[in-house]
């Protein structure tokens, strides 16, 4: 914790910072549509991601209708079911979570939290969003081509992904792969922006170690994404060529319906390696921003500095680095050499150390904090519990001997939904509630927010806890129906029905969230400046919501880290990052003692 010195040596007049040439929109179109302001782009990213996420939510309902009540809905054919699970998985992981955390929160928060006027390359930033939107449209288009979208599962494993027995193996898979390639191109443009902005555009005084953990999380996640997405890009292009030109990157000698196809010599396992070289870092591309954001939510709403800031930064960096050497734990059943399995199991368990360190530090931040159990805080605490639950089941699956029997069961589905579905979404909600006043200038309804939290949090547990049990008893994932399988008792079917009902309840509860947001935006109470008493820079803008260029006439000057809460001697329980030491209001007693020390 920073002690406040009242010495006059501290103040340095803001230097003549190099001002960025901002693009000033001249029309409605350039202000709200083809806009280069990172805040508008953030809202565009977030709106698009949430909209396509809602499509994925509906797809999950359709899946659950089939699983909970088999033979009841004749309009769901097996092909449809596979298309639903594929599109649901891909949309949620890539088009919703990645885009929302990096494109949404990244764009809004990076310039504000590091004290910049905008992103380093505003034009490229704008193009990044439009390429992302194109990727989303191409994905949606795959629902309308003959054969529909691909039903290959979100991992798109060849050879089945492009063989005719798989739904959507014509136009569907082609559009999926094109869409992914476009997404990656768009993301690379945005990602370069985020990294360069963090490295180059920080205001004076904002050293790397004074950045809020939100920025650290987004920064390291972006670096991961820049290094991991090329693997998916290469995989997508190769599979596209296999499908269109008949190359054999991934397609082995294969007989289909008695006919020997012209493919030969390709390696399906190569695709798995490429996919998971991207796929595992992807978990942390989603998780690291969530880690960062939740750290800030906990610090602000418990009025305590984050415990072990430096450890937290290092943990983020180490988790990011380790995430590149664990990918093959997704492939234990692919016939890999057992020594490789041992290696990847070991690295997987090692990654639990920095992750556990973060959980301890969050808990220790809360310890003896002045905890305010408002909506963002509830979601933050919900995240810690959920991530811990999902993480612990990950320890099981990281071990080869336990993974082999559990592989491809509902246990895996429950695990990854807890750890990278529910947990990050809880952070997304917490973050939206936390920054809603900043973004809109209005206050949301706490009552509705808390109702939303409890239904979502408890409902998610009622969905995924029973799913672990289903996995334990051997219920496989990706099965259209279990039929009259003798090994499954009647309770399996009942539990499936219960889970399905809960998904509807939790899904519909999100209406409360949207109602709260829209109503508060339209007719909510005006928020005061910095309503949470946060010390970080984004709340210190001269106007709220921040205007074009963020900082008015001059850029802020940063004197301290973002966690000066409960500073001894200070009048208020927080000191903003941009407050000079001599300007910090001190209690009389503290001021006297400072003077006597000087004397």
């Amino acid at each position: 914790m920073s002690d406040i010195t009242q010495d006059d040596v501290g103040y340095v007049a803001p230097a003549e910072n190099a001002e960025q040439d901002l693009y000033h929109p001249k029309s409605w179109i350039t202000k709200y549509v083809f806009c280069q302001d990172a805040k508008v782009i953030a809202i565009q990213y977030a709106s698009t991601a949430i909209a396509i996420g809602l499509v994925a939510l509906v797809l999950s309902w359709l899946m659950r209708l089939q699983l909970g009540f088999p033979d009841s809905f004749s309009f769901i054919e097996p092909e449809d079911y596979y298309q639903f699970i594929t599109a649901h998985g891909m949309i949620m992981v890539v088009y919703l979570l990645t885009a929302l955390f990096l494109g949404g929160f990244g764009n809004y928060m990076i310039p504000l939290m590091v004290g910049a006027r905008d992103m380093a390359f505003p034009y490229v930033n704008m193009v990044s969003y439009w390429v992302y939107l194109t990727a989303v449209f191409v994905l949606i288009a795959s629902f309308f081509v003959p054969g529909g979208p691909t039903g290959a599962g979100w991992t798109l494993y060849p050879p089945q992904a492009i063989l005719s027995g798989t739904p959507g193996s014509d136009g569907g898979i082609i559009l999926m792969l094109v869409s992914l390639a476009l997404f990656i191109v768009g993301f690379t443009m945005g990602g370069l922006n985020y990294v360069v902005t963090v490295l180059q555009s920080r205001t004076r005084g904002m050293t790397l170690m004074r950045m809020p953990l939100t920025i650290w999380g987004i920064f390291v996640a972006t670096v991961l994404a820049l290094l991991a997405f090329p693997a998916l890009f290469v995989g997508a292009i190769m599979m596209l060529l296999d499908k269109i030109l008949g190359t054999s990157f991934f397609m082995p000698n294969i007989v289909e319906l008695g006919e020997h196809l012209s493919y030969g010599g390709g390696s399906p396992i190569l695709f798995q390696h490429l996919f998971w070289f991207f796929g595992h870092p992807e978990v942390y591309i989603v998780a690291l921003p969530a880690f960062g954001i939740v750290s800030d939510l906990i610090a602000v709403h418990s009025r305590r500095h984050i415990f072990g800031y430096r450890m937290m930064v290092w943990a983020i960096v180490i988790i990011g680095a380790l995430s590149f050497v664990v990918w093959a734990h997704h492939m234990y059943v692919s016939g890999m050499n057992p020594y490789f399995g041992f290696f990847f199991a070991t690295t997987t368990l090692i990654i639990a150390i920095p992750t556990a360190l973060k959980v301890y530090n969050w808990t220790l931040t809360l310890w003896k904090g002045n905890i305010r159990l408002n909506t963002p805080m509830l979601f933050a605490i919900g995240f810690i519990v959920t991530f811990l639950n999902g993480g612990i089941t990950g320890l099981f699956l990281g071990n080869v001997a336990i993974d082999v029997p559990l592989s491809d069961t509902m246990f895996v589905v429950a695990h990854f939904h807890m750890v990278m579905g529910v947990a990050p979404m809880l952070v997304v909600f917490g973050a939206i509630y936390h920054w809603f006043p900043l973004i809109t200038g209005k206050m949301y309804s706490e009552t509705l927010g808390k109702f939303h939290f409890w239904v979502t949090f408890l409902g998610a547990y009622l969905i995924y806890f029973p799913m672990h049990y289903l996995g334990f008893v051997g219920v496989p994932r990706r099965y259209f129906e279990l039929g009259d399988t003798q090994i499954f008792t009647e309770s399996v079917g009942q539990l499936n029905a219960f889970i399905s009902i809960m998904t509807f309840i939790v899904g519909f509860a999100q209406i409360v969230f949207f109602y709260n947001m829209f109503r508060s935006y339209a007719a909510g109470k005006k928020s005061e400046m910095n309503p949470w008493g946060a010390a970080s820079l984004e709340w210190q803008t001269p106007e709220m919501p921040p205007g074009h260029g963020n900082w008015g006439k001059s850029l802020p000057l940063v004197y301290r880290w973002a966690y000066d809460y409960g500073v001894p001697g200070a009048t208020h329980d927080f000191v903003p990052q941009n407050m000079a030491p001599k300007d910090v209001p001190m209690e009389k007693k503290a001021r006297k003692s400072t003077r006597s020390r000087k004397a």
Partner: protein, 221 residues
Amino acid sequence: MNFFRQLTEKPWLPDKNGAIGMRDNNVSDTAHARVGLKMFLIVVGVLFFLLTVSYAGRMVYEDWRPVPQPWLMWQNTAMLMLASAGLHWAQSAMRRDEWNQVKMGLIGAGAFTIGFIVGQLLAWQQLVDKGVFELTNPAVALFILITGLHGLHMLGGLVAWGRTADKVWQRDKFELNKVRQSIDNCTLYWHFLLAVWLVLFGLLFSGNDNMGILLTICGFK
């Protein structure tokens, strides 16, 4: 190791010097572009690294059918080296303020780059002429994919080269600093793509089975 030194700071301790000692923010747009380009080149490096690993991973299978590498690849490699040298010359002439030489260097770099790209297409044609252009053979498909992606990056570079040439020819309309930065960035990009190509060529496409030897030494083959 400045980055790591920064990571060992203790931000919770009082900073008696206020804002002194912190980074100076006099960072211009051109510096942004330089850092952005370096980050982009790292991404490009990862892309070609993964393609090389894929190639190597496929080579270790017993049914690997190598194809004779077109002799034109040697000539193309020389072209790319000359293109890179042209830009290097332009860059050093720029530092000496000899703008005629800058122009010659740029023209040379552009011409040799176009020569390289055309040469790569002709190399594909050589494979067709030899009757080994069989897309179901992973060796052929990987050759086409890797050289194609590298060629696309060179084409993208030519767009930047065109913009740089425009700035050089009309440099009275631009800030000199921006013109210089454009040349610097183009040079870095060409050098990097040359380095990538030399690794690809040396390991995979020179016809000497260097990758095979490397895999054997490492015990994979």
